[in-house]
């Protein structure tokens, strides 16, 4: 039957395009109301979506649950912050520094973390995340626990692309699309297939002659780089860096985001970031005790919606399709 194929075509091509189109059109809708606030909000969504993409690569495609992913965001952000504190605001310096720092941290910690499996892997990534957090808290000249205000956003050869909110928004959107395309290409490439194969059956991949460890380490470093990139954008978007960007609660939130949307689908990570942040924003406006609603909601989603929101939609769509097939007449 062609039905399942249509689903995946919908999933893989139409849905992401629809999402990006939505983001692109948002400023038009926002211009009629609280423009700066909405742009700021959705920009944050897109930035976290970039980080979530990196995490989905690891968790969804590699079954490597990293509980310290927020550290990469923090490292990228602090690269910008620390350089700004020394009056270095040029993006062609800060961006490479952020990326290199994040990738290096990923590479170094990855060599240690990837010696473990399962829940031990989760815990050791958490450990490194915590170490990054405490290190940042101890940096008294850079604000320590209070954080550091960034007075001017990064500039590029004299231009200030981040100063105008709408332009910044579209730049972030372009970055998101770029990262998505990169991850998509990675996943279907030979590298991606080896990596995914390692998740399915590591022994088999090893007997086929692949050094899984190298592939996993590379994926871990790439995922870290994406997180660092998100951090670079976040620092510029909020004009502020603080150790709170790296807390274990933040790492937990990233995991929730990719689970929300649907693991291992890439656009699920974007949807998850969107859903999680918007839901939190909306609920916190409703009531002070919004976590009392949000908590059980999470539980329900886990219990009922396997595969996150995308899975839920898929289930509903399948059920609807089955119904329409089962009723040939009328």
């Amino acid at each position: 039957m062609t039905a399942p194929l249509r689903e995946s075509a919908l999933g893989r091509e139409i849905l992401p395009i629809a999402i990006f189109l939505g983001f692109a059109l948002l400023p038009v809708a926002a211009a009629f109301g609280a423009e700066a606030y909405l742009l700021d909000l959705f920009m944050r969504v897109m930035i976290f979506a970039i980080a979530a993409l990196g995490l989905d690569l690891l968790v969804g495609y590699g079954a490597l649950v990293s509980f310290g992913h927020a550290a990469f965001i923090g490292i990228g952000a602090y690269a910008v912050g620390i350089l700004a504190a020394h009056d270095i605001n040029e993006a062609w310096i800060t961006l490479p520094v952020a990326l290199i720092a994040a990738t290096a941290f990923g590479y170094l910690t990855g060599t240690i973390c990837l010696r473990t499996r399962g829940v031990y892997f989760i815990m050791i990534t958490l450990a490194f995340g915590q170490m990054a957090y405490f290190l940042a808290s101890s940096l008294a000249p850079y604000g320590g626990d209070d954080g550091l205000t960034i007075h001017t956003r990064n500039t590029l050869f004299g231009l200030a692309p981040f100063a105008d909110t709408r332009l910044f928004y579209y730049i972030v959107l372009a970055c998101l699309i770029g990262c998505y395309w990169l991850c998509r290409a990675l996943v279907v490439s030979r590298f991606g297939r080896v990596f995914r194969g390692a998740r399915e059956n590591a022994t088999r991949m090893a007997t086929l002659g692949y050094d899984i460890h190298r592939y996993q380490l590379a994926a871990y470093a790439i995922s870290g780089a994406l997180g660092g990139f998100a951090g670079f954008l976040l620092a510029n978007a909020t004009d502020f860096v603080s150790p709170a960007y790296m807390s274990w609660q933040r790492s937990g939130e990233l995991i929730i985001m990719i689970l929300f949307g649907g693991l291992g689908t890439l656009h699920g990570a974007i949807i998850g970031a969107l859903a999680y942040l918007l839901l939190g924003e909306w609920l916190s406006d409703l009531t002070e005790n919004w976590k009392m609603i949000f908590g059980p909601l999470l539980v329900l989603i886990v219990l009922l919606a396997r595969g996150g929101l995308l899975g839920l939609v898929g289930q509903l769509a399948a059920r609807w399709r089955r119904k329409s097939i089962a009723e040939p007449q009328s």
């Binding site: 240690i112 450990a127 009392m292 539980v299």
Partner: protein, 309 residues
């Protein structure tokens, strides 16, 4: 760095270790036997403390408050198990993490809603409210010694239970290979429930014991939860002996680290930066320890032998 200060800090470290053990024991049992990551274990601890305060306010008796709080904590834990957790045993760890995280959010907020946001206080039971002179000028509260003793007694009881009783045998077998135990005709559901109930009671007990010393406030379970996870990972998941040793190790390392990090650092750097870097290093210490242990022993120090998972 005087000898008596060292002795006191060691006692303090033991007290923290014992507290961590009470919480980690339940966590490692549940994880080991049921393969269930329960992040909500921390709020179980918090709930124990809150229930103790509530029952003390109602009855005015410390003993009654302890007993009532213990049983109501158990009841609540079993209720959670019935409503939420038992649907998660078959799911993978990630789902369990998220769902129990949701429970944490809910309970932290609910506790604030019911009892208010301000920290609450529980007085030390009359009988143990004195102090002993440990060093000239420092009185060491008797209650802290009570906590240490209680923890050690519970540790002994658990050891006896797990190693010398039939139930303990089933638990050890379950930690090794739960499906096989079920296939051998044991009611695995009941075993799970008993294990979970025990774990929950231990956490609640820890909360009740610590309430007279620490302030009772929303979110008090979160930091200790992370520490407890570090403990069970270092100790080896499913191993009570591992949890005990790791808990004492961490309790001592954390306490001694906090006390002496600045002094140690002052040997190599100026006092002012030492004062801010010291506490940071002290906080990182246990994570460094965990990373080191996992590097050399990727499954912890004392993983249950022949674990099929």
């Amino acid at each position: 760095m005087s000898m008596s200060l060292l002795v006191v800090q060691i006692l303090n470290g033991l007290q923290l270790g014992v507290l961590l053990f009470l919480i980690a024991a339940g966590l490692t049992l549940v994880f080991g036997v049921m393969n269930f990551i329960n992040l909500a274990h921390g709020v179980q601890y918090m709930l124990g403390a809150y229930l103790a305060v509530m029952f003390y306010t109602i009855t005015g008796s410390s003993l009654l408050a302890l007993v009532l709080a213990l049983f109501s904590a158990l009841a609540f834990g079993l209720f959670l198990e019935f409503v939420v957790f038992r649907h998660l045993y078959e799911r993978d760890h990630l789902d369990q993490v998220i769902a129990t995280f949701g429970i944490i959010l809910f309970l932290n907020q609910a506790v604030k809603y019911v009892w208010g946001a301000a920290p609450l206080s529980l007085p030390v039971p009359e009988l143990f409210s004195g102090s002993v002179v440990l060093m000239p000028g420092l009185l060491y509260p008797v209650w802290r010694l009570v906590v240490i003793s209680a923890g050690l007694i519970v540790a002994l009881m658990l050891y006896a239970l797990v190693n010398l009783t039939r139930l303990g045998m089933l638990v050890r077998a379950g930690a090794n290979n739960a499906p096989m135990v079920s296939a051998l005709g044991v009611d695995i559901r009941r075993l799970f429930m008993i294990v979970f109930g025990f774990g929950t009671m231990l956490a609640g007990f820890a909360g009740i014991m610590i309430a007279p010393i620490l302030s009772v406030e929303p979110g008090m379970g979160d930091t200790i939860l992370i520490l407890a996870f570090v403990v069970i990972v270092i100790g080896g998941i499913g191993s009570i002996r591992g949890a005990f040793i790791a808990a004492l190790l961490i309790g001592l390392a954390d306490t001694l680290g906090r006390s002496f990090s600045v002094d140690v650092l002052r040997l190599v750097m100026a006092p002012s930066p030492a004062r801010t870097v010291g506490p940071a290093i002290a906080s990182m210490l246990i994570y460094l320890m965990m990373a080191l242990v996992l590097y050399f022993r990727p499954t912890g120090l004392f993983p249950p032998k022949g674990r099929v998972r």
